[in-house]
Amino acid sequence: MNNFLLISLSDIGVIISLIVIFGGLLWLLIRSIKAKEVDRRIIFIFIFVAVAAPILFPITFQESATEVVKGVYDKIENLPAGSKILISFDFDPAMAPEVQPMANAISAHALEKGHKIIFMSLWATGQALLSQTLETVVLPQFPEKEEFVDYVNIGYKAGNEGVLNVIVADFRQMFPTDVNSVPLDSIPLFYNLKSCKDLDMIVSIGGGKPGPKEWVLFVGDPGNIPMGVGVAAVVAPQLYPYYPKQVVGILGGVKGAAEYESEFVKNYSKFENMDTPGLRMMGPQTLAHMVIMCFIIIGNVIFFRSRRKGGAK
């Protein structure tokens, strides 16, 4: 908790930009005690630097995982190796920047722990994004993992909640084959896997309908299967009532993804250099938020000082 800034010392750019930003803010704060207003252009410069600097020199803040995010992480961490996990990609490209990092991090974590993953999607547009995760995370980072043994991609099936209703009782009814028409019965991973009830965990990642909520209501609850969910920030508040009874944890928005990534990277030094888009996207966000908060404080200091002085409004 103490060293929340993960600064590689060699990265001078980071330090310079942080010094510039915070030194500048400190100077403005001191000035504000004399009740001097800040020109808007100075605020603009600060925002620009706060956003541009982390893009140029990736600054990542170590996110400490909140309880709800840790719920998902710990579940995957504590399952015995070889457990079967289903990850459903229920989102479209518009939502992807927010939730795909979650899918990537969770897949990497589960494979690293030696779990077996079944990938699927309830959205037609999710299939392409699923392949993206396979191509960018699974294949390059886990070359030793075999398709059909360690993971399988069963693709997309139309039918929304109807699909869920069927697979909670039998996969083969809805998915007679995987995405490349290989029969499930010939896939080792599916030898002892009849329905969702035989899974050890389900992770649904999405934000629309059908999505995590439907998974909880149609599969997680009736099948009594542990569920983890990752959702876009706007819908996150709606899922809280399900935690912790119906879902083991919730990843909400870019922040949720960043927290998960940081927890994962922290514990698996092997993945130190993994691409962590969630954390990367949080860099500009966090800095800019801090700059805005500092300016709110500066504004209030100026306001109170000038009122004490009895200056004109």
């Binding site: 920030a233 996207m281 966000q285």
Partner: protein
């Protein structure tokens, strides 16, 4: 004064051309065939991006240029889209088979049947054309008043639609969604109730408190919106609570949207650094 303006413009133009040359050179390394055009397009996109950003400093000729270009091009953009999607896409297939063939769009008449060998749909869809022409009559000083007819049609249509739609979605459904259990669903005793203040479903007090806040908040908020009664006494107090609730709403929504706004800027700066300058990968 004029001299500096000319110098600045010249310098910017020089940089622009330099960027174009460099960009075209960079693009030509890839398989792209017309790299000069491609380089120009990327450079102009970057130039326009910077022109708009320069507005943050103050109004200047580059911003004026970008603004006026934007207005002209976007106006024509929407006109073209409207023409192809609505007139050609929706109107022509319903009024004439010949025209449909000319524009190569599938004819969809006949849906509503024939009367005396004339397609009803062909006839009905003459109306919007007539009304459209009436609207243009506005340009005439003598018959301008006739443009009120299509206006009346438009307003009547949406008034009718809105009337029922809002009664349903805001009146009836919002009322029924305030029917929340104020005592919680699964009571687990006072001990749990007071000791567990977590956000999740096990925190009884927190959930129940949220329900109370919603309940009181909605009604005090509504009281604030009473126009025909003076806000004094108990009524005034409730209305004041209503304002507070509204203020929390506004503050919270503002804070919550900041994140999305920053992402937009991240997108633009990434464009400048990556697609234009290529200093990050």
């Amino acid at each position: 004064m004029k001299k500096t303006a000319i110098i600045v413009t010249a310098v910017v133009m020089g940089l622009f051309i330099l960027s174009w040359v460099l960009k075209a050179n960079a693009v030509s390394a890839t398989a792209e065939s017309n790299y000069i055009l491609r380089g120009f397009l990327v450079t102009i996109a970057a130039f326009l991006t910077l022109s708009v950003l320069s507005f943050l400093y103050k109004d200047n000729p580059f911003y004026k240029f970008a603004e006026h270009l934007f207005v002209g091009i976007s106006a024509a953009f929407w006109m073209c889209l409207g023409f192809w999607s609505t007139i050609v896409g929706n109107l022509i297939p319903r009024i004439s088979e010949g025209l449909s063939n000319a524009f190569k769009v599938p004819y969809i008449g006949g849906d509503w049947g024939n009367v005396l060998g004339i397609d009803i749909m062909n006839v009905v869809f003459i109306f919007p054309i007539i009304f459209g022409v009436m609207l243009i009559m506005r340009l005439s000083s003598n018959y301008g008043w006739i443009s009120r007819w299509p206006l009346a049609l438009i307003v009547g249509t949406t008034a009718g639609l809105n009337f029922v739609r809002y009664l349903q979605s805001d009146f009836i459904q919002q009322v029924s969604s305030t029917f929340v259990p104020l005592l919680g669903n699964n009571w687990t005793g006072f001990g749990d109730f007071l000791s567990n203040l977590s956000l999740d479903a096990s925190g009884q007090l927190v959930l129940i408190l949220a329900n109370w806040v919603i309940f009181i908040g909605v009604f005090c908020g509504l009281i604030y919106f009473f126009f025909s009664k003076e806000h004094t006494g108990a009524f005034g107090k409730a209305s004041r609570v209503g304002i507070w609730i509204l203020m929390i709403t506004f503050g919270a929504s503002f804070g919550y949207t900041v994140m999305g706004r920053i992402s937009l800027l991240v997108g633009r700066i990434t464009f400048l650094f990556k697609d234009w300058l290529e200093i990050i990968s």
